[in-house]
Amino acid sequence: MTATTPRPARDAGARSHDHAGSFAGTPDDPRVQLDRDLGVFEPIPPYPPRTERESEFYTLRDGEMFINMGPQHPSTHGVLRVVLKLDGEKVVDLDPVLGYLHRGVEKLCENADYHQAICYLDPLEYVSSLFCEWPGVMAFEKLLDVQVPRRAEYIRVLSAELNRVASHALFLGWMALDLGGLTPILWSFIERDEIVDMLASLTGQRMLFNYFRIGGVNGDLNHEFMSRLGDWMGKATEQIEAGNTLLNENEIFVRRMRGLGSIDSKAALRMAMSGPNLRATGVPFDVRRAHPYSIYPELDFDIPTRSEGDCLARYLLRMDEVKQSLRIIDQCLHQMPDGPVMAKLPRLLRPRPGRAYAGIEGPRGQYAAYVVSDGTDQPFRMRIHDPSFIHLQAVGLMMPGHLVADTMAVMASLDPIMGGVDK
């Protein structure tokens, strides 16, 4: 069989064995390799459509074609498959296929006790782990009516804001990388590594910190962390400015991002978006101000907003947020009270039956946890709300009419992390 032979129909019965020669039916038959069913990696699913939307999407009109992006595509920030429906080079519609990273975190949490559940929350979004732990811990504290010591709250805010800067630094690098620029990721990894090493000296881990505890944090501030933080704070503003200049003054970058993937405030609210992606459309919704938690009411910081709602606005807004985070870190260091970092709690926690919801503002939007207790030592139901999941869904609204190559730019500007999307 030569390469020019047309590929037979997918079902095995329709295969033609006319020219198979002496290899027919043996494992050496080259056609067995060529004709094998590629299964889930075919753009068109091998079963009839189950819903109205699916049958609409998988019906091609004249001149349209499907193309698979992923699941092993470098710019999907994880393992994601996006089926693109193209007309020439224009995207007509797209259908993200999730589940490649699904671990069933909610079920695992329901089968662990309250202390153990926290460590399942870390790997959800591995670039901003502290923000994944926080809502879970906060919801458990609400169930238990625990009062967290003030020093612990300050340490939480301090470490979380550091994590936010690291996450946004990485966002800058990834976004430029998806557009074809290699330098910013090298620069932003320097930034991010400094913060991550700093947090490692505080928490003992570089990425999956597992630092927050029910009723406080795992350990007090130590000398190494403080000295690293002091070094970094001295040059942070300068470093971040330098990284921004690399992109802000790059005409190719700015012209490509402006007007790309825009969404207005009404549509953003209808898509249930939150965080920087919502604020880039002009809605000043930030959970830290809208629904204050921890010690944020005591701190002085601004909520930057932009009105354009395009990729450039989302990028610039995150860079503004980094500056506000630096302000918060500075205030935390100056106002840090003395005292214990853990509330006194029994080893085995049995909260009264009830329900609690805790939402926080993370680098990507609202992270939330909804916990139902039935009076035993395990959460009866643990729901984890992740902003990446919501934002990935909005790509379908932003993409139609843009070019294939812009899919990555739009997705990168929303900053989804597949670990959180797939849970």
Binding site: R50, G99, N111, R270, A272, G354, T376, R383
Partner: protein
Amino acid sequence: MDRAFKARLERRFADQLTGPVRQRHDETEIRIGPGDVTQVITALHDEPEFRFEFLADLAGVDTGEVMQVVYHLWSITTADWLRVIADGLSRDDPRVPSVTFMWKGAEWMEREAYDMFGITFEGNRDLRRIYLPPDYQSFPLRKDFLLPDDAARSPGGGVRPMERTHIPQNAPATAPVRRVGG
């Protein structure tokens, strides 16, 4: 806690509420029947005294006896999170109207609730499995879906009244049902 908000809810939704309005910490909770979801959500979103325009979360819950769909909403008119529980869905055929007419972004959250609990959201145009493969049969976050290894070792294994054997209606006939713990 926002007492005035509680009074407003009680006055406006006197006919729809199926239980008392509960308040704890910074949350207010109302319970409604699944048939009233469209009406209550529309009123909460549109009426100037509520203006709940931000859908914070949508979750399914299996209590062991009934299914629930839980909406968390946020508004500028009150300092509380509002939790709307659509209560009393039957476990054999849970059905509830979709809220995608109001928040298109609820589509994937409803798909997830369908994937994990088998709750049918009427009006959702794309209600198919989202995480699990399309040929998967059971609904893993239901309370009768046990993780035998973990649950058996946990202090709660076999003690909880919820963890009793129950075969989901659409489970394959050959699916092994294992009783865990004592």
